[in-house]
């Protein structure tokens, strides 16, 4: 009994000595400096803010609809004819806080009468950046406009780009039945 008490006391003393010495060893002085960084990202927001389908075809029916996010335009043409020409004018706005770069426009046929795809052609003309507000003065007979821009086309926040798309069907097309098409027009942008 006496021996066990003696050993317990010895162990306790050694542990205490170690703890005391350890505390001394780690009692170094220190100071911490802080660097706090906060990064607020900008917004990339480009959209079709205005469009107009310019038709010279009196018997053709045209309906158009802009997608909910204003990133795509769907245009439907009915009762077309060989040699048909239409123009679609778009204003692309940069409503974000970062510059954007227009790198292209895709025109795809969503739905069409049989065999029309091979005879359908389009050409895109770009103008800008501009401070144009609407398309009131754009008329079918005066297109395309002179002084077009080449891609890629940069435009800063608040600036706009005018895109004119000429759609046409070969005059030599000899298909049968009605000629109807639905086009989807999307612009490709980069920042």
């Amino acid at each position: 009994m006496k021996n066990s008490t003696y050993y317990a006391c010895t162990i306790l003393a050694v542990v205490l000595l170690f703890v005391v010495l350890s505390n001394v060893a780690y009692a170094m002085w220190s100071e911490t400096l802080h660097v706090n960084m906060k990064m607020s990202m900008g917004e990339f927001d480009t959209r079709i803010c205005c469009y107009k389908v310019l038709t010279c075809c009196r018997h053709c029916n045209v309906t158009s609809q802009l997608s909910d996010n204003s990133k795509a335009l769907f245009v439907s043409f009915e009762n077309l004819h060989p040699g048909w020409i239409e123009w679609v004018a778009l204003i692309i706005c940069n409503k974000g806080t970062l510059p954007a770069e227009l790198i292209g426009t895709s025109v795809t046929i969503v739905e069409a009468s049989d065999g029309i795809e091979d005879h359908f052609h389009y050409e895109v003309h770009y103008y800008g950046p501009l401070r144009i507000h609407d398309l009131k003065n754009i008329r079918c007979c005066r297109l395309p406009l002179p002084f077009n821009s080449s891609l890629p086309l940069q435009f800063d926040p608040g600036q706009k780009v005018l895109v004119l798309i000429e759609l046409h069907i070969d005059a030599l097309y000899h298909g049968e039945g009605e000629l109807n098409t639905v086009f989807a027009i999307r612009t490709s942008l980069w920042h």
Binding site: W29, T32, M39, P99, Q154
Partner: protein, 237 residues
Amino acid sequence: MNLKKLLVLPIFLILISSMSVALAMWSETLKINVTVNTGEVDVEIVRAYVDDDIPPPTIKPDYNGTPNAWPNCTNFNYTGEGWVAVIKGDIDFEELDKDVAWAEAWTEDTDGDGDNDTAYVKIHNGYPGYMVWLSLEVDNVGTIPIFIDYYVVNGTTLTKEEIEENNLVFLDANGNCEPEVLIQLYNLLGEQIDPGQGRESSWRIVVLQPASENSEYVISVKLVAVQWNESIYYGKK
């Protein structure tokens, strides 16, 4: 009363008094008073500067940075403050043609001891690729030499050896192995800074492609300074 008993008391008194005389020797005590005035470990961020600190538009365009190495999922560790990957690599950069984003840096005394202990950096209107340089100047304003032992980036502790080997620190806020921000750290570690002296270090901060629009990313870097003789670098060359 017995006579013998009466004699014992005076004899005892005489004996006591004679002993007192024997102990009444002259003496003087010398005292040594030791006063220990301890020094102070105190460091200050005397300057935090970013190279793009004027809001646009200016004639100074932004820089675009691209890391030449990219971490994979196994490189990331969760630290409680986000996912951090530290890998080897460098940043290729080029001047852009526009001034779009900007940054500001300032220092503050958060503990009220009269020294600026915290630097703040804020990037405004950031976008993927935007790169900014942050320059930090740290002075030893205490009375004891110090070493800066560690950087602690969002909870990840980095030593001099680790920084020399791998200095691209990728920070992923949401744990999808797609880091949004990168810091390239340069050394302020392992060099003794004597009282009155200072060191400067320049870091690069890059916004990476997975960063989201209209979002905010926060990074915290701590610099741990310790007294020189208990630094992990003490005695190392």
